[in-house]
Amino acid sequence: MAAPEAAQRRRRPHTLSLFVANKPGVLVRVALVFARRNYNIESLVVSPAARGDFSRMTVTCSGDPATLEQIIKQLTKLVDVVHATDHTGDASYETEVALVKIVQPMDRRTETLQIAEHYGAKVVDYGPESLILRAYGGSEKLDAMIELLRPKGLTDLVRSGKILMARGLQET
């Protein structure tokens, strides 16, 4: 019985936030720290930070926790990384945007639109053969919505990847 439990623990995604110098190559250096240890990056968002010359990276990844500890230390060790923090399980505000394309005839869309409404998703493209929904919120919420939409003719999915910010005066 221990095996599936361990596997589940391994699969639980972690969310890291990195504050990095905005320099060419920094993304590769970061990615190599994961790749070398056979760790999979599930999503990665890079964007300019409030301070010029710096960027913010939010990384979700999964793998075994001992390796993650080493990964965070190796990331911190990179000259271009100012800090790397594991926010898994803390109270940071997290969000993500998803765009979902559904191919469905006009007269069969009632349920799709009900699902969209329930999840606060907006119809951003309404065409004769297909529609695009835009939803945002916690990743688990988006997962649930997407599962409901799959049988409705979901053909394309683009997610921004998770971004997060620590609350109060805590550093992200």
Partner: protein
């Protein structure tokens, strides 16, 4: 051009603005660089050109790998960074093994490579290689210089990063239009590296926690690594060992941090360490690592390594903590500072019985070798140690000869033993000795090499000859890739595969072809005389010891086995294949 303008006198170039290459060389001089090891090519010509008018001496090598190992040996012997200059493409890729070697062993190396001009980047231009891309995993940091104005800042940062904290190699890739173009940037002193911190003093709480653990130990061992050599912690380690009454063991790269001939010193531990060092580690109740990283050559089977002993880990690199095992206490800081600050806090351990026990093991399992049956590497190395009194600098290549040299050439102080430990790079030993001799010309420098590894970088015989670098190369010629043959004999039913070095040249003639003195030892009776002859020769010497072909290194802990399974004498029964890697 119109006739009118061609008739006008040519406007002289604004003489005041130097090129990027000239600024680079001035910045290097400002960092104290006196010598650069390199080999030129199109994309690096402007930099080589700037060297013509500089005080910095250029040492032309015969292969870029040689340049990296020479610079690495220079760095390890002196503590100052070694500088390499190569061209783009294949010139730069030839440095990759040297970068790995330096990276694994924390050696400060600066590799400057020429690159194709900026407009050509990414077009598969002639001799273009994505050198920063290829080298990311084997450098401490790297730069692709995009603007000549950045050169002074980058050089300052590169030297700072290479030499501080846990040292390592830094690569600077410079497009030819950057080195050739004008550069009016000024020298830079201030550093702005918010992502780079180097620890200094340890936290006082960590030190007092360590003192409390040390006070309880009855069977302590100090386990000393390369970090202690790098930080110059030798005296502090010895003082601590004396104060605690604790024996010392060192890693392959930690050799010499503390005097290996001291009665408290048990020599090298690990796969081919002394039986008494390994016994001590198996039975200790506390082990304190100082600048060592619990490498798999040391721990053997991890679950059984020092299972019940208290473990303390002192390191300057926090990423080493909890990497392979979880110590009871980690102390972040420079090895020397930590040992010095611990000294007044520790009391002598109640370790009389323990020290006696360690001495009994030392008596019971001395390093030994058969005195008959032809010329043996161990005998030659034993005599080299005795004749030089351990006062030379010894570099070793990789293989059986390396392990015998580590066992029999006891190292008395730091930076007198240089070998590729982490990477195990064959071909390192000889060029590293050239670098060590450049760094410390007043010292006697010996390179102990095998017939396999020597042939990987022997072209640097020309470099040694041209610069009259008086290194003494002791070539242990067993006509085999001996260490691999040993594994095949012991663990693969002696099914030899790809280890016979049939076709070896006559090495003495080879040396002579380069204008280097060649000497040969065939009989045990000749050993002392030939070593002395090599020592008294004023220039470089290749001393070839024709040793018995099929000798094995003992003690040996099969890779991945618990230390307790150490094989002290040649086994009579077949052994299982090792579970550990290499």
């Amino acid at each position: 051009m119109s006739a009118a303008s061609s008739a006008a006198p040519p406007t002289p170039p604004p003489a005041a603005t130097p090129t990027g290459a000239e600024v680079l060389i001035r910045c290097l001089a400002r960092e104290g660089v006196r010598r650069i090891f390199g080999l030129s090519g199109g994309a690096a010509i402007p930099i080589f050109d700037a060297l013509v008018d500089s005080q910095i001496e250029l040492v032309l090598v015969r292969h870029e790998q040689g340049a990296t190992h020479i610079a690495d040996g220079y760095a390890r012997a002196s503590g100052r960074p070694g500088v390499v200059l190569v061209t783009s493409g294949p010139g730069a890729t030839n440095t990759v093994t040297g970068l790995l070697t330096a990276h694994m062993d924390s050696a400060p190396l600066i590799v400057i490579s020429g690159q194709t001009i900026r407009p050509n980047l990414g077009t598969d231009a002639f001799q273009e290689a994505d050198v920063t891309g290829i080298t990311y995993p084997v450098v401490k940091h790297s730069y692709l210089v995009n603007d000549a104005a950045e050169i002074p800042r980058i050089v300052r940062e590169a030297f700072h990063i290479a030499t501080t904290g846990r040292p390592g190699p830094v690569l600077v890739d410079i497009p030819k239009d950057v080195s050739q173009g004008p550069c009016s940037a000024n020298f830079v002193d201030a550093l702005d590296l918010p992502g780079y911190q180097t620890p200094g003093r340890a936290a006082p709480e960590a030190l007092s926690a360590a003192a409390a653990l040390l006070a309880k130990a009855r069977q302590p061992v100090l386990y000393i690594g390369h970090g202690a050599v790098i930080s110059g912690a030798g005296k502090a380690v010895m003082a601590l060992a004396k104060q605690m009454r604790a024996p010392i063991v060192n890693t392959l790269l930690g050799k010499g941090a503390a005097d290996e001939t001291h009665p408290l010193h048990l020599g090298m531990l690990g796969m081919h360490g002394t039986a008494y060092a390994n016994r001590a580690v198996t039975h200790c109740d506390l082990i304190m690592a100082v600048g060592a990283r619990w490498d798999d050559r040391i721990t053997g089977k991890l679950d059984e390594f020092c299972k019940d002993a208290v473990k303390i880990h002192v390191d300057v690199d926090p990423a080493e903590f909890n990497k392979v095992l979880r110590p009871n206490l980690c102390i972040l800081g420079d090895a020397k500072l930590v040992c010095e600050e611990l000294l007044p806090l520790v009391q002598p351990c109640n370790s009389e019985e323990w020290l006696e026990q360690c001495d009994k093991w030392r008596q019971k399992y001395p390093l030994r070798y058969p005195k008959r049956g032809g010329l043996r590497a161990q005998h030659v190395l034993d005599r080299l140690d005795a004749i030089t009194g351990g006062r030379s600098i010894i570099t070793a290549d990789v293989g059986q000869h390396q392990m015998w040299a580590a066992q029999f050439c006891r190292t008395r102080e730091g930076r007198r033993w240089i070998t590729s430990g982490g990477a195990g790079t064959m071909g390192f030993g000889f060029p590293a000795a050239i670098g060590a001799k450049f760094a410390r010309p007043e010292e006697e420098v010996w390179a102990v090499v095998g017939d396999g590894g020597f042939q990987m970088t022997l072209a640097e015989l020309a470099t040694a000859r041209v610069h009259n670098v008086a290194v003494k190369v002791l070539l242990i010629n067993n006509n085999y890739l001996g260490m691999v043959r040993q594994w095949q004999e012991m663990f693969f039913e002696n099914r030899l595969s790809g280890v016979d070095l049939e076709g070896n040249p006559d090495f003495v003639k080879l040396a002579e072809a380069y204008g280097v003195k060649g000497l040969r030892i065939r009989r045990p009776a000749d050993v002392d005389r030939k070593i002395e002859e090599a020592r008294s020769w004023p220039g470089p010497v290749l001393l070839v010891a024709e040793v018995v072909k099929e000798d094995n290194v003992f003690p040996m802990i099969p890779a991945g086995a618990p230390i307790a399974n150490m094989i002290i004498e040649p086994p009579r029964t077949p052994l299982e294949k090792p579970s550990g890697s290499t």
